[in-house]
Symmetry: C2
Subunit: 545 residues, 2 copies
Amino acid sequence: MALTNNLVNPLLTDKYQLTAAYAYWKNRMHEVPAVFELFFRKCPFGGEFAICAGLGEALEFINAFRFTPEHIGAVRAVLPPDCDPEFFDWLSTVDGSCLKIRAVREGSVVFPRVPLLQVEGPLAVCQLVETTLLNLINYPSLVATNAARFRFAAGPRKWLIEFGLRRAQGPDGAVSASRYSYLGGFDSTSNVLASHLFGIPCSGTHPHAFVASFSGLGELFTDSLVALNGQYYDFVPRVLENLKGMKQLFDISSTNEGELAAFIAYAQAFPHGFLALVDTYDTLGSGVPNFLAVALALASLGYSPVGVRLDSGDLAKLSRIVRSMFCKVGERFGRDFGKLPIVASNEIDEKVLYELNRQGHSIDSFGIGTRLVTCWEQPAFGAVYKLVEIRGSPRFKMSEERGKATLPGKKYPHRLLDRNGHPLMDVLTNEVHPLELYRRENSEWHMMAGGPLRCRDPFDATKRFSVEVASSVPLLEYVWDGDFCPDARHPDVMIRSYVREQLAIFGEEHLRPLNPTPYPVTVLDSYYHSLQWLWQQQLPPREIQ
Amino acid sequence: MALTNNLVNPLLTDKYQLTAAYAYWKNRMHEVPAVFELFFRKCPFGGEFAICAGLGEALEFINAFRFTPEHIGAVRAVLPPDCDPEFFDWLSTVDGSCLKIRAVREGSVVFPRVPLLQVEGPLAVCQLVETTLLNLINYPSLVATNAARFRFAAGPRKWLIEFGLRRAQGPDGAVSASRYSYLGGFDSTSNVLASHLFGIPCSGTHPHAFVASFSGLGELFTDSLVALNGQYYDFVPRVLENLKGMKQLFDISSTNEGELAAFIAYAQAFPHGFLALVDTYDTLGSGVPNFLAVALALASLGYSPVGVRLDSGDLAKLSRIVRSMFCKVGERFGRDFGKLPIVASNEIDEKVLYELNRQGHSIDSFGIGTRLVTCWEQPAFGAVYKLVEIRGSPRFKMSEERGKATLPGKKYPHRLLDRNGHPLMDVLTNEVHPLELYRRENSEWHMMAGGPLRCRDPFDATKRFSVEVASSVPLLEYVWDGDFCPDARHPDVMIRSYVREQLAIFGEEHLRPLNPTPYPVTVLDSYYHSLQWLWQQQLPPREIQ
C-alpha cells in the first residue's frame, strides 16, 4: 500500500501548527514528550454509534511524513521572514519514526469521548501531524458510518451500489466515499478508479444519453446476434415480434423506437449483462415493454437478461407494477422473469429507504449517490485532536463550553462485555492496568472477569454505574511504533466483515434511526476523582461581579 | 498549471460510461458527432444564484485525458471478459484533442438551465469525460457559491479566513475548498498546501494545545526579548508588572499561569505576529488579561501586538466586552489598543453571521471552517451533463419528472442587459445568431441593441416576456479547441475580482438569503416553438386506462 493521494503531505496542514511548532522550538520544548488523543464528542446523524475509518491511510501519511526541500520552502513562505533559520534545519530532520501510535482497529464501532487514536512523541511533531490526521479520519469515519446506517435501513439482503462520484466533494471525496461506503456495508461502486485501487466490485449499466443517442432502428449496425450456442441469429426481428406481444399484453399503441434501438444495441454489446435504464421517456409505457421485448429475444438465444433500473418517479409503486409486468410476461412466454432484479436510484437516502419499506416495494438493489457520499444529513464528522499529557503530566482544555472540555491524561479505554460477549459500556481510565480490571500473577497482568465495577459519567456527578462485567477488551492497540506494527493493516474486505460482525453484536437498539439507545461511555471511579481534582486545581471558581 | 490531484485521470469515472462507450463502439456510433451540455436545475442553498467554478481544473483534465496501459488494464477488469479486444486498441488512441469545449468564464454568476459547459466531439469521447467533468465542477461551484453567500452575510469589510481543512471531505475537498472559497470572496486560508499551490494568503495563530502545553512560567526558556531597537530587554518581568495592573483594573484575583507562559513564549517567537487564542481556560477572567499583559510588554519594546481569537462562548457579547477591555487598557496605558483585531471562530455559518450582525458585535475577522467547506446547508451542487444533439439533430430526455426533462439542441445562451449594463435575464436559443439578437451587415454579424425581445419560460406556457434590451452578451466562449484556447485561463486572483464585480452588479435582490428574487432564464420565442414541437413529436400522450 502507499498513499492514495499526492495532496497528502506535510503541507496539508493548518498554518497554526507550523507557528506552534516554531514557538515550541524557540522555547526549546519541541522535543518534550507529549501525548495527543483523537476523539469525537457526538455521534453523527443524530445516531448513537459511529464507525472509525481512515486509519490505514493515516498511517501511510505518518510513514511518508517528511519535509522535502520544496515543503521547507513553502513553510518559510508562510512564516515571518525573521524566523530563526535553524528551525528549518530541524524541520528537515523530522519524520514519523519518533512517534508511537495506538489506535482502535480500523472499522471499529466507536462512541463519543473514547480515543480513536493516541499519538505519543515529541511535542512539536505530534502537533505537526494533527490537521492531516483529522482530515484523513473525519471523512472516512463519517461516510463509513453513513453507509452502515443506509445498510441498516435497506436490510441485509438488498444489493447497495455507491453512485456518488459526480456529486462528491472533489475527486478524493469521491474515491474515499467509494472505499469507506464499501467498508460500511455497501456491495459495490460505480467508481472505476476506486474499484481499481481497492478491489471493490464495480457496477454500472448505461446512461440516459445512451438511450437518447438513438432515434430509430435504422441506426443499428447489425440485425443479428450470436446466440449462446455460437450461431448467428436474426435478433432485431425477434425483438420486434416480441414487442408486438408486449403491446398486446399491456394494451400499448407504441413505444419509443430510439429507446428500443438503444436497448437492442446494448444487448448486442452485453448479451450477458443486459440491464436497461427504463425511464428516459416513459417507464411503463415505453421503457419496460421495450426492455421485455429485448429480454425475451435474448432469452430465446440462451442468454439471461439482467434487469432494469428506475431513476425517477414513484419508485415503490413503479417497482411493484414492473414486477407484475415481469411476472405476467414470464408466465405468458414461459420465461423465469418474475425475479429479474429491479435497481432503483434517484436521491435515495436513509429516510427514503425506510419510507419505501413502509410503502412496500419490489426493488432488489439501490444505487445511492449524493445523499450517501456527501453525508447530506450531516456533512462533517467532528473528531478533534487534543493534548492530554506532557512530560508525563495530564493536560486539558476547558473552553467556554462544557461540551468542548477535554478529559486530561493518557487514557486506556476498555470495552466491557457481558457473559454473551455483548458490549455493556466503554470505560476510560488513566492507568495501564487498573486494579478494577486486572490482577497481577507471577509478574504478569491478567484481565479480570466478574465483580461489579464502579464507574461514572465524567461530567454528570449524578450518573453512577455498578456493572457486572464478564470480560473486557482493551480498545487501543499499537499500530505504529516508529514503523508499522505487525498486523496493523487489514485488507478492506476483512475490515468490511469486521464492521458487519460488530454491528450485528451491538444490535438494533443502538443502530435504529429513531430514539436509539445511547451506549454508555464512562470513567472508572478512580479516574473520575483524579480528574475532578485536576479541573478544580487548574480552574478557580469564576468570579461574578 | 497542471492537474492538482493524481486521482484525476480517465478511471475517475462511472463504469456505465465505459459500458456505454463500448456499446457505441460496437454499434459503430462511437465517432458520431455529438454535443453534451453541463448545467444545473436549481440554485444551491435555497438561493437564486450560483458561481461557476472548477473550469480551469476541468480543462487540465481534458488536456491530460488519455488511457495509459495501466488504465486500459483497469477498464478491461471492469468490463466482461468477452468484450472485443479491438475496443481497447481504439480506447488507447483516445485523447482530448478531438473535443471542442465552450464554457462560461470561470467565476461567472450563473443560473439554472443555462449551459455552463458545452462539449462537442465524438459521441463516445464526450461520454467518457462526463463523470470527471461533473466531479470537477460540482464541488468547486458549490463552495464558491457558499463562500460568496458568507461574504455577502459578513459584509465587504470583514476579513474572512477559511479554516476547514480538518473537517473537509478528504484532502482534495480541503484543498479545493480553500481555492474556491478564495474565489468566492474569502481573504485567506489556514491551509498551507492550498496557499502554496494557488498563492492564497495564509492565516493562522496557535492551537489550544500550545496553551495547554505550558503549566507555568518556569517552563520559559528565556525571560528576555530583543526589542524592535535591537536591544535585549527583560520581558517576563514587564509582563508580570502589567498583569498586576490588569488584575487591578479588572478586579481579578488570578489568571492561569500556564496560559500566560504560553502567550509569552508565543510573543517571543512572533513579536510581530502576537495573536492569542484566549478561550482555553476562561476568556474574560484569564485569556484576555493575560493577552493584554503580554501585549503591553510587547508595545513597550516597540512591537504592535496583533489581537485575539475567540473560539467558544457568546461571540457577540464576548467581542463587545473584549473591545471595551481593549479600549480601557489602551486609555489607561496610553496605547492604541482600541482597534486591535478580534477574530472569532466556532461553527460559524451564514445564519450565525446574520445573527451576530443583528446582536451587534466587535468582531473584525471570522475564521470559518466546517459549515463553509462541507457546505453544510446543502452539501452537493446538482450539475448534470446531458446529450443535446447528435449528428446535428436535437436530443432530449423526458424522465418521469418534468424538472428532470432536458432542453433539446445545442444552445447559445445570451445575457440581456439594460442601458446601465444591469443584467435583465438570460435567454437560450438554438441558433448561433438569432435574428432577434443579431443583424448581418457586410457578411458580418453584429449584436443588436434595443427593440422589445419576445421570450418565454420553456416549461410554463403562461410565462411570456417582452424585454427592452439595450445590449446582450453571449455567455459561452470557446475554451478548448483540441487544445487550450488563448485567454481561456485566468489567474485565481483575477477570477476572484471578476466574481466580486459581477455580484456587485447583480445586487442584493438576487443575493439575499431570505426570499431572493429569481433571475429569469427564458428561451427565445422561436426556440420555444421548436422545442414544443419536438417534445410532442417524440412523446405521444400517455395512455391512462
